[in-house]
């Protein structure tokens, strides 16, 4: 029989329903889901899955030549460490190398040819075809009256030879390097030497005293692992001549705080003491063609005078000279701070000459001759900025390893034609120089293509290795070798340019044919005689698996003679108002940009001052009415920049330290690199250096 449904029933039902629901798992499930949801929101990325493998390769970010182990998941590298027992880098990688696998994904990465409309920081990118970029450049080269220059930022690679051949085959071609803080001593010594058919290298491991004039040897100089190993061993005494309490000064046995720019006079003063105190061996004197002229220049620099010029007590100068002369294996290094750029050539000569006086050239623990790597011999020394007349470059091609921020844009401007000059950049990443170029044909980024790793500047023996690709090459990037081939064809220059990998393989074969030296095998940290390797292909395969070839130590000889070639030096007028020195971080912020993760070092810690920071001593701060974190205006002959003031008691009073550092590429908004670099405030002198500039610093 039918029962009518009363309001009461409905209430009962709903009431019961609700109660039941509460005791069901449903509400708890919902709560759980809500929390699970909070764990995946914020778009936290999904992680790659798959087997974890190690791939051995070499880092070509700078010329340090470090072996790397890339930890990869399903093919993607996610971390980089060294190769234990690696004979060059001794198992370590530098701060930048640890994140080198990010470079291909840099926010300022360029993946196909572009042209720039507008100039400098206003310049905007627009895509062009490879053809357009190449033919435009070719036409300009064909029509050029000024010189056609290729700036090779990492000389000694296979591509360096391609550049050289190409430039030799056109009427006005010039192959250009800029001086490396590592190579400058050996290059200068080479230029002073006659009777040396090889390059020079530093036998640091066997040295007992290193006198370094500002070379940042414990701050990513050369191959960092090699020097940290040296430092950890602790058997070598290091005297660091530095205008500031640098990382290297901090780690060295003794620090000689010098008034910036006066390094030359300290060197001459030390020479003078050695000569006066008859510490120079007779056969050394005999080997120096212009000894008399040299003495004539040095003898005016008595300890007292030098002390007064350099701000270092005379007895410390004398002590240093004697320490040098009395040690068995001394090495004297020239080479300044990367940011400040190279010393002027007179300074380099004065410092380098000390090695000759000490008679340590060609001796173990000194500067030794290094047989060139077969297939990598140099036929002619490259030109450096000093050799390039102002406003003489009509077409500048900047190699893919872009000095980025080490070279002041103003230096390049100084050398380019006043009007009508054009720049082609091969940089895979946007940076100060490539952002100023007219055309951009990006090369594959780091680890996207196979590269050769030549002997690092200043290394005591020849080495050869391969940077094995870890990443897929971007479709529209072009190997510099292919760019040169296209240019050659467009200019119908007859040149045989094989593809890059092919070319490097040929060089490897040539090297193998000498059956010389040893291979270090990454996978098991073992060593193989090249003789024991069956075929050139085996040799090649091992190289592509992370092996590095090490030459035998070169037979040393002593049939050299030297010409110092110092011209009379005049003592500078002291006390320029506020000397500004650009200061930076060797290598680790080198070619072009750095991985965004380096922001940890520049932005989220106090480790390195960010771009556009000036550091001054507290007393200087008081003098100029400045205090911590003030905004100020820094002006030089080249212009004015807003800067951030940092107070640092380890900086010499009366000196401004302008820090050069990567743009903080907040990955949400990559900054336009053009004109960002404080280096552009540096005054570039006629010899193409920019160490010291008078500056004004005003609070805003």
């Amino acid at each position: 029989m039918a029962k009518t449904l009363t309001r009461r029933d409905i209430l009962k039902f709903t009431g019961g329903g609700i109660l039941g629901l509460l005791f069901s798992p449903l509400p708890w499930k919902l709560l759980d889901d809500s929390s699970i949801w909070t764990q995946n929101w914020g778009l936290t990325p999904k992680l790659a899955h798959g087997p974890i493998t190690n791939i051995f390769s070499h880092c070509s970010l700078c010329s340090g030549g470090c072996g790397i182990t890339a930890r990869c998941v399903s093919g993607f590298p996610f971390a980089i460490t060294g190769i234990s027992g690696h004979p060059v880098s001794q198992g370590t990688v530098c701060t930048r190398g640890l994140a080198a696998h990010h470079m291909a994904h840099h926010p300022l990465r360029i993946v196909h040819p572009h042209t720039f409309t507008g100039k400098g920081s206003e310049a905007t990118l627009s895509a062009v075809s490879l053809q357009t970029a190449v033919s435009a450049t070719a036409e300009h080269i064909a029509a050029s009256h000024g010189s056609v220059v290729i700036l090779d930022q990492q000389p000694g690679r296979a591509i360096s030879h391609v550049y050289r051949e190409f430039l030799n085959s056109i009427p006005n071609g010039i192959y250009l390097n800029s001086p490396s803080v590592e190579a400058v001593t050996v290059n200068t010594l080479k230029a002073m030497t006659s009777g040396e058919k090889y390059s020079y290298g530093f036998d640091l491991e066997n040295a007992d005293l290193i006198l370094s004039f500002g070379a940042p040897i414990f701050d990513n100089w050369g191959t960092p692992g090699r020097l940290t190993a040296l430092h950890n061993a602790g058997t070598t005494k290091v005297i660091q001549v530095d205008s500031r309490y640098s990382r290297t000064a901090m780690q060295s046995t003794e620090w000689l705080p010098i008034i910036p720019g006066m390094e030359k006079f300290l060197a001459l003063g030390i020479a003078n003491i050695m000569i006066q105190e008859k510490m120079v061996p007779a056969q050394v004197i005999r080997s120096m063609s212009d000894y008399k002229a040299y003495v004539a220049i040095t003898n005016e620099f008595t300890p007292e005078k030098v002390s007064q010029i350099t701000g270092i007590e005379s007895d410390r100068i004398i002590k240093t000279a004697r320490a040098l002369a009395s040690s068995h294996h001394p090495i004297v290094l020239s080479g300044a701070d990367p940011g400040g750029g190279p010393f002027d050539s007179e300074t380099d000569k004065s410092i380098t000459a000390l090695n000759i006086l000490l008679g340590n050239v060609g001796k173990s623990g000194g500067i030794i001759s290094r047989r060139d790597v077969p297939g990598y011999e140099i036929n002619s020394e490259p030109l450096h900025w000093a050799n390039i007349p102002d406003h003489s470059i009509e077409v500048l091609i900047v190699d893919s390893v872009d000095s980025g921020y080490a070279l002041p844009w103003t230096l390049i401007q100084k050398k380019m034609l006043l009007n009508g000059g054009s720049i082609l950049s091969l940089s895979p990443i946007l940076n100060e120089i490539s952002a100023h170029s007219d055309f951009l044909i990006p090369a594959p980024a780091l680890f996207e293509s196979l590269q050769d790793i030549p002997t690092p500047p200043g290394h005591p023996v020849g080495t050869f290795a391969i940077s094995t690709p870890l990443l897929k090459k971007q479709e529209e990037t072009t190997e510099p070798a292919d760019v040169i081939r296209l240019l050659a064809t467009a200019l119908n220059v007859q040149l045989e340019i094989p593809p890059m990998e092919e070319l490097i393989k040929q060089k490897s074969a040539a090297l193998y044919s000498h059956k010389r030296g040893t291979l270090h095998i990454a996978s098991d940290n073992s060593t193989l005689q090249v003789r024991e390797i069956a075929t050139a292909d085996d040799f090649w395969t091992k190289l592509t698996e992370g092996a590095v070839w090490i030459d035998e130590k070169t037979q040393q000889h002593s049939q050299r003679s030297y010409t110092i070639g110092l011209s009379a030096v005049n003592v500078p007028v002291q006390g320029m108002e506020l000397p500004m020195i650009a200061y930076g971080w060797r290598g680790a912020t080198a070619s072009a940009q750095v991985s965004p993760i380096l922001s940890k070092v520049f932005q989220e810690t106090e480790l390195r001052a960010i771009n556009g920071t000036v550091s001054i001593n507290p007393t200087t701060a008081i003098q100029y009415g400045l205090s911590k974190d003030d905004e100020a205006e820094l002006s030089t002959v080249n212009g004015t920049m807003k800067v951030h003031v940092k107070i640092d008691p380890t900086i010499r009073p009366g000196v401004i330290e302008a820090s050069i550092a990567p743009l903080l590429n907040g990955i949400e908004t990559p900054a336009h690199p053009a004109g960002s670099n404080i280096l552009n405030l540096c005054e570039v002198t006629n010899d193409g250096t920019w160490r010291i500039t008078t500056a004004k610093l005003l609070k805003v």
């Binding site: 936290t44 790659a48 971390a79 640890l98 840099h106 965004p596 940890k600 070092v601 908004t669």
Partner: protein, 257 residues
């Protein structure tokens, strides 16, 4: 699997301040290993994400007598009364009795930041922003470490991912102990100056235990009694004096009482 590891460890570190040259490799290695995102534009030392941060400390002298040291600072793995753990309302912080490592469970963290006020070493970091990577970098994250989301706290956990891997390896080989070479935190591995010694403090013969006992070794804020497992070392008098600005315990107290 992990259950087969029976040995009880007390992992710790000794940082030689005389060897550290502030190269920052450890900071970067830590960020890469633990999927810490790069800085956004507005990030700085106070609101950034660096499980391993490094401060520059000056000796307060005038140039050229002015010197400075770099002090790498990260979770000191407090053993007793672990400040951050005791205060966490929802057990998002735990200490593993078999390793002594203070762990952080971001999935449980509600981001109240009470632990941050509790930590005397400022070793904890809050995600003020959503993490950001470029598309390519997202594919290059460490598959062993879960990225954190906005609004939670994170900190050094002695590279938990690596510990886990080492345990699994040991277990798969039926070993009851972790082979020391299998468990090396990223910062330790990356330090080419060999400034950081890592290992088992329970094993009195281990390099780390010996270094910790050195008379020039000390711990920051040791009087708080939280028994941190990270030691520092310096032969420089002024550095140790700096560390004692807040009274620390004498070397005797540290090791025999």
């Amino acid at each position: 699997m992990e259950t087969t590891i029976e040995k009880v460890y007390k992992f710790g570190m000794v940082i030689d301040l005389d060897k550290c040259n502030g190269c920052g490799a450890c900071t970067v290695a830590c960020a890469v290993e633990n999927n810490i995102p790069p800085a956004l534009e507005k990030m700085n030392k106070r609101n950034g994400l660096t499980w391993l941060n490094i401060s520059t400390v000056s000796n307060g002298e005038q140039f050229p007598k002015s010197e400075s040291v770099f002090v790498p600072m990260f979770c000191q793995q407090c053993e007793k009364e672990t400040p951050c753990m005791t205060v966490c309302p929802q057990n998002a912080v735990d200490i593993d009795p078999s390793t002594g490592i203070v762990g952080q469970v971001p999935q449980r963290c509600l981001g109240c930041r009470y632990c941050m006020t509790a930590c005397p070493y400022h070793a904890r970091y809050f995600n003020w922003w959503d993490p950001e990577w470029t598309e390519g970098m997202k594919q290059q994250l460490n598959p062993d470490v879960a990225p954190r989301m906005r609004g939670v706290v994170e900190k050094c956990n002695f590279c938990h991912g690596r510990l886990h891997a080492a345990k699994q390896k040991a277990a798969s080989q039926g070993s009851r102990e972790i082979d020391p070479v299998d468990y090396v935190p990223a910062c330790v591995e990356s330090c080419s100056n060999k400034a950081i010694t890592f290992g088992d403090l329970n094993d009195t013969t281990s390099p780390v235990a010996q270094a910790a006992r050195d008379e020039n070794s000390f711990r920051f804020l040791s009087r708080l009694g939280t028994e941190p497992k990270v030691y520092y070392h310096s032969a420089k008098k002024w550095v140790r004096a700096m560390a004692e600005k807040s009274l620390t315990r004498s070397h005797q107290e540290e090791f025999h009482g």
